[in-house]
C-alpha cells in the first residue's frame, strides 16, 4: 500500500509538486496521469525515496520513507523513466548485480534473474550488452530489474514509452496480471493505456492533483456531462432558451441543419439538469426531437481537467521537465 499525504517539492522558487495526497491500496493498479512537466516524475521520485519531499510524507506499507528508508525501499520495485543502466554490462550481469544490491540471498540469485528475464520477456537478450539494446528492450530490462526480489509494490515511470504495439500489449497484460496481487502505481500520458490497465486514476496538472477516480467515474462525473439536443428552429433560439436554465453551464457548440438545430450543452451531473433543459425549451416555444447524454471520453475529461481547471487555479505555471539539478 502506498499512502501519500500533502506531498510538496520545491526547487528554489518553483513548486514542482504541491500538496498532493492519494492512496494506492494493496492489489490495486493506479495510473498517474498528467501532461508532460506536470510533476509526475518528481512525485514518483519522492514515492521511491530518490528525492526528499520539501513537505508531506510518503508511507510504503506503513513505513515512512524518511524515517525508515531501508524498509520502505525494500518493498518497492522501481522502474525509472528512460531506464538508465550501465551500458557496458550484459543484461544478466546487470540483473545479478541489482539482485545483490537489493539483498537477494546468494542461493536464489540465479533463480530470481531467470524468473524476471522470463516475466519481462527479455530472455532472448539475456547475454547482450545493455548499451547495444533497443529502447524497447532497455525498457523491459528496467521492468525485469523492478521485479527482482518480487517486491509487493511496483512503481513504474512511463512503462510503455518506446515500446512497439506488440510489446505494449505484452506490457499491459503483464501489469494487468499484477492486479490483486501487487500494488502498482504507474505514470503515463497515454490514455488508452490507463483505460486498459488501471483500476483507478490520479490526475495531476501543474504540480497539483486535479482529479481522482475510476475511469468510469471520471468519464461520467467530475460533476459534468455533455448533452446533445436536436430540435426544429434556429441555433440562436436554443441558445437564448437555455440561458439561465438551472444546471446548464453553457452551450459548447451549435450546428444549424436545414430544418433543425443541433446544440451541445455542458450541464451538471444528475437528471435534474435534463428536466430543466426540457422545461426551458418548451417554455421558449421550441420543440425537441432528440435529447442525448453523450458518452464522455477519458480524453475529454483529461483535456478538461488539465486545461480549464488548471488555468483557474493559481498553478506554478509552465513547469519544465522535472529533473534534479
Amino acid at each position: 500500500m502506498i499512502e501519500v499525504h500533502g506531498l510538496t517539492k520545491r526547487y528554489g522558487s518553483r513548486l514542482a509538486v504541491q500538496d498532493v495526497s492519494f492512496r494506492v491500496e494493496r492489489g490495486e493498479v493506479v495510473g498517474f496521469l498528467g501532461p508532460n512537466g506536470a510533476g509526475k516524475t518528481t512525485t514518483l521520485r519522492m514515492v521511491t525515496g530518490f528525492l526528499r519531499p520539501t513537505a508531506g510524507e510518503v508511507r510504503i506499507d506503513g513505513f515512512d520513507t524518511a524515517a525508515s528508508p531501508m524498509q520502505a525501499r525494500r518493498r518497492v520495485g522501481y522502474m525509472p523513466e528512460g531506464v538508465p543502466a550501465y551500458p557496458e554490462m550484459r543484461v544478466t550481469e546487470y540483473l545479478r548485480y541489482r539482485a545483490r544490491l537489493k539483498g537477494a540471498p546468494r542461493r536464489q540469485l540465479e533463480d530470481a534473474v531467470e524468473r524476471v528475464l522470463d516475466q519481462a520477456h527479455v530472455d532472448d537478450a539475456a547475454d547482450r550488452i545493455i548499451g547495444q539494446l533497443s529502447k524497447g528492450y532497455r525498457q523491459r530490462v528496467g521492468l525485469a530489474d523492478a521485479l527482482l526480489t518480487d517486491p509487493p509494490i511496483l512503481v513504474l515511470d512511463e512503462p510503455s514509452s518506446g515500446l512497439d504495439p506488440n510489446q505494449n500489449r505484452d506490457m499491459r497484460e503483464l501489469v494487468r496480471g499484477f492486479a490483486g496481487d501487487k500494488t502498482v502505481f504507474l505514470s503515463t500520458h497515454i490514455l488508452p493505456e490507463v483505460e486498459a490497465t488501471c483500476d483507478r486514476i490520479v490526475i495531476i496538472q501543474g504540480g497539483r492533483k486535479v482529479g481522482e477516480g475510476t475511469p468510469a467515474s471520471l468519464r461520467s462525473g467530475g460533476g459534468r456531462r455533455i448533452v446533445r439536443l436536436v430540435g426544429p428552429g434556429q441555433v440562436r433560439a436554443f441558445r437564448v432558451a437555455l440561458q439561465g436554465a438551472s444546471g446548464v453551464r453553457g452551450v459548447i457548440s451549435g450546428e444549424q441543419g436545414d430544418d433543425a438545430a443541433s446544440v451541445r450543452v455542458e450541464v451538471d451531473a444528475g437528471d435534474a439538469a435534463l428536466d430543466a433543459i426540457f422545461d426551458a425549451v418548451v417554455a421558449a416555444g421550441l420543440r425537441l426531437r432528440e435529447l442525448v447524454v453523450e458518452q464522455t471520453s477519458l480524453e475529454e475529461v483529461f483535456a478538461h481537467l488539465t486545461t480549464t481547471e488548471a488555468s483557474d487555479a493559481e498553478g506554478p505555471g509552465e513547469a519544465p521537465e522535472e529533473r534534479p539539478a
Binding site: R45, P80, P84
Partner: protein, 246 residues
C-alpha cells in the same frame, strides 16, 4: 557486503574500459623512465649506502613522481559518482535498500584497488634493485606504507569531488585543483622559515615520502592521512544526501 558488490561493479567497469589500460600504460612508461633515470645516475655516482639507493630516490624527493600523481588521481576518481549522476544510474542506486555510507565505502574501496594497481608493477623495480645490491628491507616496506597513506586521502578527496560534481570533467578539475593546492602548501615548508615550515612539512607529500622512503615511519603523517580520509569520506556521504534534495 553491499559495498563489496558496488566496488566489484566499479572495478569491472574500470577494467573493461580503455581508460584503465591507457592510464596503466602511461603510468608504467613514466615510472619506468623515472626509475631508469635514477639507476643511471647512481651508476655514475655510487653511494654505497643501504638507505640511499635508486629506490629511495624513486619513492621520495622527486617531482617526477608527485606531479603525475596530481593528474592520475583525478583521472582514476572522476567517474566514481559523477558518472552515475550524469547518466542517471544514481537514481537506481539511491532507491535500493543500500545506505549512502555503503555506497561511498564501495566506491572508495574500488578507488583504493585502482591506486594499488598503480604501485604493484613498481615491485619489479624493487626486484631489480635488490638483485644488484643490498637494500634495507624496512625501507621498502615503509615506502609502500607511505604510498598507501597518501593514496588513502588522495583517493578519498577524488571521491568527494566526484560526489560533488555533476560531470566527470568537473570532478577531475576540482580534484586536480584541491590536490594541487595541498601540494603547494607542502612546498611551503621550503619557503617559510620557522614554525610554519614545520606545520607545512606535516601537510606535505614531499616530507611524507622523504621520511617513509628512508624507513622513518612518522605516525603523525599517518594520523594526518587517516583524518583527512575520514573527513573526505564523511563529506562524500553528505554530498550524496544533499542530492536527494534535487
Amino acid at each position: 557486503m553491499k559495498a563489496l558488490t558496488i566496488a566489484a561493479r566499479e572495478l569491472r567497469a574500470y577494467f573493461v574500459s580503455p581508460l584503465a589500460y591507457v592510464v596503466l600504460t602511461v603510468w608504467l612508461l613514466w615510472t619506468g623512465a623515472t626509475f631508469y633515470y635514477f639507476c643511471t645516475w647512481f651508476a655514475s655516482n655510487p653511494s654505497g649506502s643501504e638507505t640511499y639507493t635508486p629506490l629511495t630516490m624513486f619513492f621520495s624527493g622527486n617531482m617526477l613522481l608527485f606531479l603525475p600523481m596530481l593528474v592520475f588521481v583525478p583521472v582514476l576518481t572522476m567517474r566514481l559518482l559523477a558518472e552515475e549522476a550524469h547518466s542517471g544510474t544514481l537514481e537506481q542506486l539511491l532507491t535500493v535498500p543500500v545506505s549512502d555510507t555503503a555506497i561511498v565505502l564501495g566506491k572508495y574501496l574500488a578507488a583504493m584497488v585502482m591506486w594499488c594497481t598503480l604501485w604493484v608493477p613498481t615491485l619489479v623495480y624493487v626486484l631489480i634493485t635488490t638483485s644488484y645490491g643490498t637494500i634495507d628491507p624496512g625501507t621498502i616496506v615503509s615506502s609502500y606504507v607511505g604510498l598507501l597513506g597518501i593514496g588513502l586521502y588522495y583517493m578519498a578527496i577524488g571521491l568527494l569531488m566526484s560526489a560533488l560534481a555533476s560531470t566527470q570533467v568537473v570532478a577531475a578539475v576540482l580534484t586536480f585543483l584541491f590536490l594541487g593546492m595541498l601540494f603547494l602548501l607542502g612546498i611551503g615548508q621550503f619557503i617559510f622559515p620557522g614554525p610554519p615550515a614545520e606545520v607545512l612539512a606535516y601537510l606535505s607529500v614531499w616530507g611524507h615520502m622523504t621520511d617513509f622512503a628512508k624507513g622513518i615511519v612518522d605516525t603523525r603523517y599517518l594520523v594526518y592521512d587517516a583524518s583527512l580520509t575520514a573527513l573526505a569520506l564523511f563529506f562524500a556521504v553528505q554530498a550524496i544526501d544533499v542530492r536527494r534534495d534535487g
